[in-house]
Point group: C2
Chain length 421, copies 2
């Protein structure tokens, strides 16, 4: 049975490879036409998606899923239109494939260029939301990759309906249906088979909680990109404008609590603690945020004493860990020890402090006098985002189309040979 599943995943990967070989030759015109075809088909066939989604919602309710999860799972006519619009946006973005990254004519006359090429076969492992199915398929297609999608079993009916529509649209546009495939989702082992299909799969991107991502990264023999775990800090420096600091802390923490760019920890320089600690604690309380504080913070009303775990916790809720530090360097050390390499912010008026913080903090994004909430592909002008990488290899921060590509050196000569050295 497990061997069957392995063969099922590998067979899908082999079909994806054949499709990827076709996609390498697909022009932007053909890919964009397919994206528009996919968008139109989703709108036209929305009723069958909604019918399938109703089955998932019913099953989810019977299985006791929380209202929050049911909401993430639910599709509506409007949400379907939203993902269709997303495909049209991707069609409007420049094609990353073929972009010349570097190029020159070598002293011997050889014409050398490094060009972007598709990665090949890209696997995505993700959780409940069915809109990710469409987003991932669209971004993969535009960047010339075949997609193997491993969604959540709780969205199985929705994903099956969506992928059937996307595949029909691909064929209608003259591209291989196998450029988008849904993998079996009932057994965790299908993830294992995907991330160990070395030679068949070029890249796997897990999107989900820390547990999923850690398991994938540890077991994988296929290259992976870690995404989306954010223990983000806001550090309020000695010279901070305290009005600005309050605004940035509140926005970073409360704009949306369930996203990876939300702040989870607050560090305050000792020199301003007397004034700022009471003030920010009150402001956070007004916004229904529970502060898990160190000794200084714990003297304020309503603050819960922090435990060691708090400094490492990605709450994704109206909670924040908070402590006082004696210096910028202590803040940097705290972030080095507890941060997840996602987004770190400093609020300061001091140029030297800002320069030191941005240079020393090792994270995908560092904000000076700005909210952590800006770390986002859309905000960064990428037009679309497949996730936010917290690793250092290949892609770091928001991943758009370019991050789904590799490169290739191409040299044109006229009989060039290399002399012996």
């Amino acid at each position: 049975m497990t061997d069957d599943l392995r063969e099922q995943v590998h067979a899908a990967a082999r079909r994806a490879r054949v499709a990827a070989d076709d996609l390498v030759l697909a022009t932007r015109e053909r890919k964009d036409a397919a994206l528009h075809e996919m968008a139109a088909a989703l709108r036209a066939r929305a009723p069958e998606v909604l019918e399938a989604n109703a089955k998932d919602i019913e099953a989810g309710r019977a299985a006791g899923l929380s209202e929050g999860l049911l909401d993430r799972l639910a599709l509506t006519e409007k949400r379907i239109d939203g993902v269709a619009k997303g495909l049209e946006t991707v069609a409007g973005l420049a094609d990353p494939v073929g972009e010349v990254l570097r190029g020159s004519i070598l002293p011997n006359g050889l014409e050398l260029r490094q060009v972007r090429v598709p990665m090949g076969v890209v696997g995505m492992v993700y959780e409940a939301r069915p809109n990710v199915t469409v987003d991932a398929a669209g971004l993969a297609l535009k960047s010339g990759n075949a997609a193997l999608l491993r969604g959540s079993s709780s969205a199985e009916h929705s994903n099956t309906a969506l992928v059937a529509i996307l595949r029909d649209a691909l064929e209608a546009a003259g591209l291989p249906a196998d450029a988008v495939q849904l993998l079996p989702c009932h057994d965790r082992a299908s993830v294992t088979h995907l991330i160990t299909a070395r030679g068949l799969v070029d890249l796997v991107i897990p999107r989900g909680g820390a547990g999923l991502i850690d398991a994938v990264v540890r077991q994988a023999t296929v290259p992976t990109i870690e995404t989306g775990v954010g223990n983000c800090h806001v550090y309020v420096d000695a010279t901070a404008d305290l009005d600005m600091a309050e605004t940035i802390v509140l926005n970073s923490k409360t704009r949306r609590t369930s996203v990876c760019n939300a702040a989870e920890s607050l560090l305050v320089h000792a020199a301003i603690a007397d004034e700022f600690v009471p003030r920010i604690t009150a402001a956070l309380r007004d916004h229904e945020v529970t502060v898990h504080g160190d000794e200084t913070f714990a003297r304020q009303e309503g603050v819960v004493a922090a435990t060691d775990d708090d400094w490492d916790t990605e709450y994704l809720s109206l909670d924040i860990a908070a402590r006082v530090v004696d210096s910028l360097d202590e803040a940097v050390r705290h972030i080095a020890e507890h941060g997840s390499g996602h987004t770190e912010a400093i609020v300061t008026s001091d140029v030297a402090a800002a320069r030191r913080f941005t240079a020393r903090v090792d994270a995908a994004a560092v904000m000076v006098n700005a909210s952590t909430a800006f770390t986002d592909g859309g905000e960064f002008g990428m037009g679309a985002e497949i996730g936010i990488s917290t690793q250092k290899l290949h892609a770091r921060g928001p991943m758009g189309l370019a991050e789904l590509t590799s490169s290739k050196w191409v040299a044109w000569g006229e009989g060039h040979v290399r002399p012996s050295s």
Copy 2:
């Protein structure tokens, strides 16, 4: 004992992390001064290096190492001067750290830049040649990384002497000695501890045979870059200029047989087989190359009948596998099945064939009417090379200083917060 070794490797990695935190702030001026200091110290202290090297050579001879391996192991005053010159060349290269890769002012006024930053702690696992110790240390330093070097036990005395000199020079230049450390080399387990030191080590680059690289990639939980396995093909198309084809095949095969960019397989279009097969077979024979051929080639004098294994073999010797293909697409399929993603060449007069081959062949480098031997950091103008990546993630092809870096997004604002959406 094994636990001791693990702790030894981890302790070195923690010291490297501290050093890396310093290197992040090191200006190009300081790094270049250290590189010149290292070069001068190597020349000044050449006698102690030669003395240590003599011990390695003696031990190697006693252990029955081949003359080839002994030659790779041997240092001379001239070779030491060569590696010192290499350090000076690296000092002359632009600093990759701080390069702005992308940047703009967002519509809301936030100033956003993506800048190159050091990777952090980089591990290198490599075989006999002690010059790699110096090359790797120099490239790591220039790109702001701390290096953990795991060389061969057969070069232990040489590497120990070299690293002691490099560390003294670092300190003399005001940089941390722990930016360059040598790991224990007697137990294979030190490699295992290095490649599983997740969170302590940012990147490991194995340089060596396919066995080493495969083992590292399979066991590693730390990100790795596969390097240097080359089953490179030359495909001679129907429209090839046969004089040019002969020159390119001979150069690709015989210029240096022991390097990863040497050709190991020859594919000939059926339309020119009658003329070209006898001709190239004779030319290869004149250069003492043994041809392992398919049926058509095997009819020629001196050709050995190829077995299935030949198509997948990186000979690194005066041997070449050779077959006739019916079309360019068959050549592409053969390369997809047997190639290692290193370098593939086509010889053709036909623009459409060249375009199709370069688009469809999935390799780090594709040559049109040029020798496979050009895939090299020096030839590509990188100034120096740490290896040739055959993977698609992060770096592909020759790896110079830029490939030893990651990136970071830095945004400067004046109290910017993100509106609710």
